[in-house]
Amino acid sequence: MSELVERGAAEIARDVNAKRVSAREIADAALARADAVDERVGAYLRVLYDIARETATRVDERVARGEKLPLAGVPFAVKDNMCLNGTRTTCASRILERWTAPYTATAVQRMLDAGCVPIGKSNLDEFAMGSSCENSALGVTRNPYDLGRVPGGSSGGSAAAVAAREAAIGMGSDTGGSIREPAAFCNLVGLKPTYGRVSRYGLIAFASSLDQIGPLARSVEDAALAYDAMAGHDPMDSTSIASEVEPTATALRNDLRGLRIGIVREFPLDPLGAEMKSAYEQAYRDLEALGASLVEVCLPTAEYGLATYYLIAPAECSANLARFDGVRYGSNVDAGDVGTMYERTRAAGFGPEVKRRILIGTYALSSGYYDAYYVRAQKARTLVARDFAKAFTSCDLIASPATSCPPFALGAKSDPYSMYLMDYYTIPMSLAGVPALSVPCGWAREGGRTLPLGLQLVAPHFAEALLLGAAHAYEGATKHAGTYAPSLVAASGVES
C-alpha cells in the first residue's frame, strides 16, 4: 500500500498546493488502493478511473497556474445518491441502475471547485433508507474494521471508502443518522450540518425536510475542511440558508474550557451494556478533563423521535419517490396500460425497505389518517425542536452515544424495526435540524473483535464552528482514531 493513501485531506492539500506531490499521484494511489481492496470492502458501486485522472490533471493545472485550492488533490468518495454530470447515479436501486445524471449536485460541484478528485460513487442503502448498507440493491459493503460486519448506513459506502483508505473524504447524506452512524461504525468523524447549510440540489431526495449532506473523514480537521468547502447558500435550493457560513477549519480548538456540555438525562448508559457504558463514561470524563463542565439536560420528547421520524420521513419519501415511474428515465417494466406499467416498474424497481417506507408514508398521508399520523408527527417534531432549544439555554453542546451498539454482523438484523432502532440517538437532532457529529471515542470488544464506537456531539443551529472545534479538542486529547487501523491497512490483507 502506498503511504499516500494514509494521508488526510489537510496534508494532501498542503502538499499539492506546495507542489510536493501532484494530485495525479494522489489519485493514482487512491485508484490503486481501490483496485487492491474494494473487491473485499465493496465501498464503491463504480470507480471513476477516467474522471478521477482527468480531474486530478486539471487540479494540477490549476495549482500550476498559482491557484490555492483548499482541498487540492483530495480524493473523495461520492455517495451514489448525489448527481455527478455524466456518471451513473443509482441510489443503489434497480430503478436507477442505468440512469446517467445530466447535471452535478451543488455540494459535489463545490468539492470539485475546492480541488477534490472523485474516486468513485459509493454504495448506500437504497435511496438512503437504512442503517447498515444492506438495503443496497447493487452491492454489499463491508466494514473495513471487520469484514463480517456492516459499515453502517446509509452512507456506508463513503464511510467504508474513507476507513479503508480508498478516499480521504467521503460525502454522505444524513436523514436520521446516515452520516453519524456509519462514521461511528467505521471509526470516522462524520458531520451532519445544520439543516439548510449544505445545498440539497442534486441530492436524490429521501425526506426533504431532513436530508442534509455532510462529510466523513478520518480527522476532525479534514471534516472541517470538507464542510467549509461544501457549505454555503445555493439559489437552486429553496431551503438553503442564505446567511454567511462561519469557517470551521480555522476555529479548531485544543481545549473545552468555558464550555458547558449537556449530558442527556433521557439517554442513560446502562442499557448499552457494560463495555459501551464504560467507554462513554470515559468519554464524558475526557470532555471534563479538557475543561468542559458537564451539566444534565433534558430532552423529554427524544423518546418519541423515532415514532415521529418514521411518519415524517416516509410521508415525504412517498411523494419524493413518485417520480420513479418508468416514463422519463430509469428502469421500466412494459405493460399494456400506463397504470399497470407504473405498478410493475415500481414493484420490480424498488427493494422491500423502500416499498415499506413508501407504503407507510402513503398511509400516513391518506384520507382519514393525515391528522392522526402526519400532523401529529409534525406537532411532535415541534416539541422535539423545543427540547433542543431549551436544552441549549443551559449548555453549549450536547454529548451522547452515536449508536446503541457497535457495528453488527451482516444479516444480524432481519426485523425492520430493530434496524430502525439503530437511529435512536441520532434522529432527534435530525428532527430539530441541529448540527451533530460523531467522533471516534474508543472501542468495544465483541466476538474477539475490537470495534469502533462514536461519541455524538450536538450544537445549536449554525454552530458548526463550535461543534467541530470541540470535537477537535476531544480528538486531540484521546487519539482514538489513530490507535487501531482496520486490518485491511496491513499489506498482508484480509482478516476473516
Partner: protein
C-alpha cells in the same frame, strides 16, 4: 317560466405570462419544439429542486388585489399527489389550505348592459402539466387510444387557479363572468388568457334547484369546453338535462361530465384517478410565503383602471351604449386612444363618433390600428374643435379624417390652405341658393305645385355648389325661405 333555476360555479386555470416556468428557469413560451423547454427541475430528474418564480407570485397577488380579495399574511405550497404520465413528479405543487388569495369578486356585465358580480372563493398558484397526445384511436381522444406521446414543455408553467362561488345563474352570466375575468387579467398583463392555446381553461359546476329554494342541488362538473361559445352551450345543455331529469322524477348524480362539441351534449366522464386521495401535504422543498400588508397596499395603489370600472365610466359618465363600451374595452389600444381624445377634447360624444365611427372603419379597412395610425389624438381633437366651432361641417370632417389618415397632417392647416371652412355668411349662402333655384326652375315649379319633397334635392344642390362648405342648417333655412316666397 321555468320552475327551476340554475346555479353555476366556475373553476378556471390561467397560465401566467412569465418569462420562465414556475419553479425553474426554462422558458415559458407557447409553441416550441416538443421537449426542448425542459430541465432537471421541470422533468423531475432525481435530485432536482423547485425554486418559485417571484413574478408568478406577484402576478397572482396582483390579480387577487384587482378582484378585491384578501391577501392572507401567510401562504404555502403543498404537494397534490396523483400519478399521471404528463406530470413528471407525480405530484403537482399546488396550494391547499393556505392559498395566496382568498375571496374577492368578479364584476361583470351582460350584453344588455346590466351588471353583476360573482364572489370568488380563492385563487391559488400551481404548476401546469405536460401535454399528452393520444394516438391510435383515430380521433385523438384518450378513450380507445393505443398509446400516448408526451411533451413536457408545458410542465411547470405557472398556473393560477381561480374558483368562483356557485353564484352564477345560467350560461349568460357564466360567460359574462369569464369574459370579465379574462379582460381583467389581460389588463393586468398577467396572462394571454387564450382558450385556444390553453392559457385559459375552465370547468363549470352546474346544478339546478326549484326557484325559491336556497339549498344547492346536486352538481355535475363539466369539462372539455374549448371556447366561450362552448361554455355557453355546454351549460345550457347541462341545465336542460338536469331539469329534464328532475321533471321526470329522477335524480341528478354528482359526476364529471365532458362536453361534446359535435353533438351538443354532455356525457359522463370517469376520472383519471380511481381513488381521489390526493394526500396533500406542505411541500418540504419550499418555504412559506409571508405577504406584508404594505406590499398589498402598494399593489392596490398601482392597479390600473379595471375593465368593469371602465365599463361604468363609459356607460355612466360618457353615456356610451353597452356594446360601444365593450368594443372599446376589448380593444385596449383603441380605448387608450379614445380616453386621450376625450381627455383633450372634453367631448365624449364627438370622440365616440369619430373613434368608433370613421377611425374604426378606416382601421378595419386598412388593417392599421387606430392608435398606430397617422392621426394623433391631438390632431383628432383639432378636428373635433373645428366641428364643435362649426368651422367645418360633418361632411368635410369625414373627408378630412380620410386625408389625415393618409398622412396629410393637421386638419386646421388643410382647412385653411384649401378654404374648406364652412360658409356661414347668410348673404353668401343666399346668393348660392338664389343661383341654384334659378338653375332649377322646373324643380322649384314642382315644389310649388305641392311636391314639397324636392326641397331636399335642392338643399343638396346648394351644398354641392358650395363644395360642401355651406352650413347645411343655414342652407335648409334659406332654401325654404326662398321657396316659400312666391
Amino acid at each position: 317560466m321555468s320552475a327551476y333555476e340554475a346555479v353555476v360555479g366556475i373553476e378556471c386555470h390561467v397560465e401566467l405570462k412569465t418569462r420562465t416556468k414556475m419553479f425553474c428557469g426554462c422558458t415559458n413560451a407557447f409553441g416550441a419544439e416538443p421537449n426542448t423547454q425542459v430541465c432537471p427541475v421541470c422533468l423531475a430528474l432525481p435530485g432536482a429542486l423547485p425554486v418559485p418564480n417571484r413574478v408568478a407570485i406577484a402576478q397572482t397577488l396582483r390579480a387577487g388585489v384587482a378582484f378585491g380579495a384578501d391577501i392572507p399574511a401567510f401562504s404555502k405550497f403543498d404537494r397534490k399527489n396523483y400519478f399521471y404520465p404528463d406530470m413528471p413528479k407525480n405530484y403537482q405543487i399546488s396550494q391547499y389550505d393556505m392559498p395566496l388569495v382568498v375571496g374577492g369578486e368578479v364584476r361583470y356585465w351582460l350584453e344588455d348592459g346590466t351588471t353583476g358580480s360573482c364572489p370568488l372563493e380563492r385563487i391559488h398558484l400551481e404548476e401546469d402539466t405536460g401535454k399528452s397526445t393520444h394516438a391510435g384511436s383515430g380521433d385523438g381522444r384518450i378513450a380507445g387510444s393505443a398509446y400516448s406521446l408526451v411533451d413536457f414543455n408545458r410542465a411547470g408553467v405557472p398556473l393560477m387557479e381561480c374558483v368562483s362561488a356557485p353564484a352564477l345563474h345560467g350560461a349568460a352570466e357564466a360567460v359574462a363572468f369569464l369574459a370579465s375575468l379574462r379582460r381583467t387579467l389581460l389588463e393586468l398583463g398577467v396572462s394571454d388568457v387564450k382558450m385556444e392555446e390553453g392559457s385559459l381553461r375552465c370547468d363549470a359546476n352546474v346544478s339546478v334547484r326549484l326557484v325559491g329554494t336556497s339549498q344547492l342541488g346536486t352538481k355535475a362538473e363539466i369539462k372539455n369546453m374549448n371556447s366561450f361559445r362552448s361554455v355557453h352551450r355546454a351549460i345550457e345543455s347541462e341545465i336542460d338535462r338536469q331539469i329534464a331529469l328532475l321533471e321526470k322524477g329522477e335524480r341528478v348524480i354528482q359526476e364529471t361530465r365532458g362536453w361534446d362539441e359535435i353533438h351538443g351534449v354532455t356525457h359522463p366522464m370517469r376520472s383519471k384517478e380511481e381513488a381521489h386521495d390526493y394526500r396533500y401535504f406542505p411541500d418540504p422543498d419550499l418555504v412559506p410565503l409571508e405577504i406584508s400588508a404594505s406590499d398589498v397596499e402598494r399593489m392596490r395603489a398601482e392597479l390600473p383602471e379595471l375593465p368593469w370600472q371602465r365599463f361604468e365610466r363609459y356607460t355612466g359618465r360618457y353615456d356610451l351604449g353597452a356594446k360601444q363600451a365593450t368594443q372599446l374595452i376589448d380593444n385596449p389600444s383603441l380605448a387608450r386612444y379614445f380616453d386621450r381624445v376625450v381627455e383633450l377634447s372634453r367631448n365624449p360624444q364627438q370622440s365616440t363618433n369619430f373613434v368608433l365611427g370613421e377611425l374604426s372603419r378606416l382601421a378595419n379597412d386598412t388593417g392599421t390600428p387606430v392608435a398606430d395610425s397617422s392621426i394623433a389624438p391631438e390632431a383628432l381633437c383639432e378636428l373635433i374643435a373645428l366641428v364643435e366651432g362649426k368651422t367645418i361641417n360633418s361632411k368635410i370632417a369625414k373627408e378630412l379624417v380620410e386625408r389625415m389618415w393618409a398622412g396629410e397632417g393637421s386638419p386646421r392647416a388643410i382647412v385653411e390652405r384649401e378654404g374648406l371652412a364652412q360658409t356661414s355668411d347668410p348673404a353668401a349662402v343666399d346668393k348660392i341658393v338664389e343661383d341654384v333655384l334659378a338653375r332649377n326652375a322646373d324643380v322649384v315649379a314642382d315644389y310649388r305645385n305641392g311636391k314639397t319633397s324636392v326641397a331636399g334635392y335642392l338643399v343638396g344642390q346648394v351644398m354641392k355648389a358650395s363644395r360642401g362648405k355651406a352650413d347645411p342648417q343655414l342652407v335648409a333655412e334659406l332654401v325654404k325661405k326662398r321657396l316659400g316666397a312666391s
